[in-house]
């Protein structure tokens, strides 16, 4: 969809006037969304249906219009989205995400690295002063540091699989409980204008920072172009979902496909029986 100016502005540098005309045209030329009778999305079949826990129900909204239109109501699995949030596990996950790739480049020289200090300062006996072997020993001023930082020091470690899994469950549950989780049918928006996205987010009261999550890693062109100019609207595939990003962004917006994939993966790992044998090859401390 191409927007063009009908009238030539008097001053081409008058950005405010241009913007006004442009936005009027955008509003005029947005295609009107024609929908079949609601609700479009009726229900979802849950894998590993919960026995005594009630599934959580959420609205499914649209991205076609700035105003929110509810397309239907779906169930979310309570073991993924209604788990008791473990704050300690969330903290562990955040700490791991920040630390595992951290490399400390701080460095201090040891006694053999400090310039000089190869010669015995004075003879062992006779001078009346204390005995020394080198002017760069750690007890000397300007000498080497014994247990100081040594560059590069990696802080890599792997958090246990189940800790990471439960971190995702806890964070998703916390997001849903705090009304920061929204489901949309897809991430297709009618225009690639960045202000459309901004208006949409403002209208719906979504947080300053929004994380859009879809199943596919190649996102629709319009939303990619629209969110490109904003650092606080981010697109992410399901496989990149992590605790730190979910906490950094105020609102989490999942597509239906993303919800399906997320639930399928998390429930599979919660109910599988061959985790020990499957995880054997990833164990760091065993051959």
């Amino acid at each position: 969809m191409v927007c063009y100016l009908l009238t030539k502005p008097t001053n081409p540098l008058n950005k405010k006037q241009n913007k006004k005309i442009f936005w009027l045209l955008v509003e005029e030329q947005l295609p009107t969304t024609i929908r079949p009778p609601l609700p479009i999305i009726h229900s979802r079949k849950l894998a590993f249906p919960p026995k005594f826990k009630a599934p959580r129900q959420v609205w499914v909204s649209n991205m076609d219009t700035v105003e929110e239109e509810k397309l239907g109501l779906i169930d979310l699995h309570p073991e993924v989205f209604a788990e008791r949030p473990r704050v300690d596990i969330i903290h562990e996950n955040v700490r791991w995400q920040q630390l595992y790739r951290h490399v400390s480049y701080a460095n201090t020289k040891m006694r053999y690295e400090v310039r000089g200090g190869g010669k015995k300062p004075r003879q062992q006996k006779g001078s009346g002063r204390s005995r020394h072997g080198s002017i760069r020993s750690p007890i000397w001023r300007g000498g080497g540091i014994v247990h100081g930082p040594r560059s590069p020091t990696p802080y890599f470690y792997m958090l246990g699989f189940n800790t990471r899994l439960n971190g995702l469950r806890s964070t998703l549950s916390a997001k849903l409980a705090q009304d920061d989780l929204h489901i949309v049918d897809s991430l297709d928006i009618p225009t690639d204008d960045p202000s459309y996205l901004e208006k949409l987010v403002e209208e719906r009261g979504w947080g300053p920072a929004v994380l859009f999550v879809d199943d596919n890693d190649i996102m629709p062109l319009n939303i990619t172009a629209a969110s490109d100019s904003y650092g606080h609207y981010n697109l992410m595939p399901v496989y990149g979902l992590n605790v730190y990003s979910m906490l950094k962004h105020h609102t989490l917006v999942l597509t239906l496909a993303a919800v399906e994939r997320l639930e399928e993966r998390l429930l599979f790992h919660l109910n599988r029986n061959d985790a020990a044998s499957a995880g054997q090859k990833y164990r760091l401390d065993s051959v």
């Binding site: 026995k51 005594f52 008791r84 473990r86 704050v87 300690d88 599979f268 919660l270 109910n271 599988r272 029986n273 061959d274």
Partner: protein, 179 residues
């Protein structure tokens, strides 16, 4: 010089250049590191015969493989072990102890402290009023064993630990309670 020629030939083979000269007739060393370096496949009669088995027989292979996900247990029929299936309705209590993914009662025996001296009975997968459950199990254990029972309630991780080996007693209590 011969060693240099050999090394250059080897290097050329690795580089996969095709030069039909005297050196290429010599086969000093072969590195089958790429497709084009490998000898090409000959016609089928040079190799052993094979015949395709019907794909219907794959089910005999599949049923030998263990299932990755625990299948659901049969609803009727008795098990020859002392395992009882989880009930269909939860008991009317302020707490609930969920079965594991293998439908087992979540009571475990841990060995803690130095050199695995201390036996600890752990109850996991607790939901609801954990203190009420701890009081109920503790009073039962003290009644059965006629001695003081020390316990730990972890409200964040939702588990209870009892100092001592009371696994069978706790499991029996939980099954009787209807979990």
């Amino acid at each position: 010089m011969a060693s240099v020629a050999a090394r250059s030939f080897v290097f050329r083979q690795q580089m996969n250049t095709r030069r039909f000269d005297f050196a290429s007739c010599l086969k000093i060393k072969s590195f089958y590191s790429s497709y084009s370096a490998n000898p090409k496949e000959k016609s089928p009669e040079n190799y052993t015969q094979y015949h395709e088995v019907s794909s219907d027989n794959w089910k005999f292979v599949e049923r030998l493989k263990p299932p990755t996900v625990v299948p659901s247990f049969p609803k009727n029929g008795s098990c020859f072990s002392d395992w009882t299936p989880p009930p269909d309705t939860p008991p009317n209590l302020p707490y609930f102890v969920k079965r594991t993914k293998n439908f087992m009662v979540p009571v475990y025996l841990n060995f803690e402290a130095v050199r695995n001296q201390r036996k600890i009975t752990m109850v996991k997968h607790i939901e609801g009023d954990i203190w009420a459950l701890e009081k109920a199990i503790k009073s039962h254990l003290e009644e059965v064993t006629k001695r003081q029972v020390v316990s730990q309630v972890h409200e964040v991780a939702m588990y209870i630990k009892f100092r001592g080996d009371y696994v069978l007693h706790v499991k029996k209590w939980l099954l009787n309670a209807g979990f």
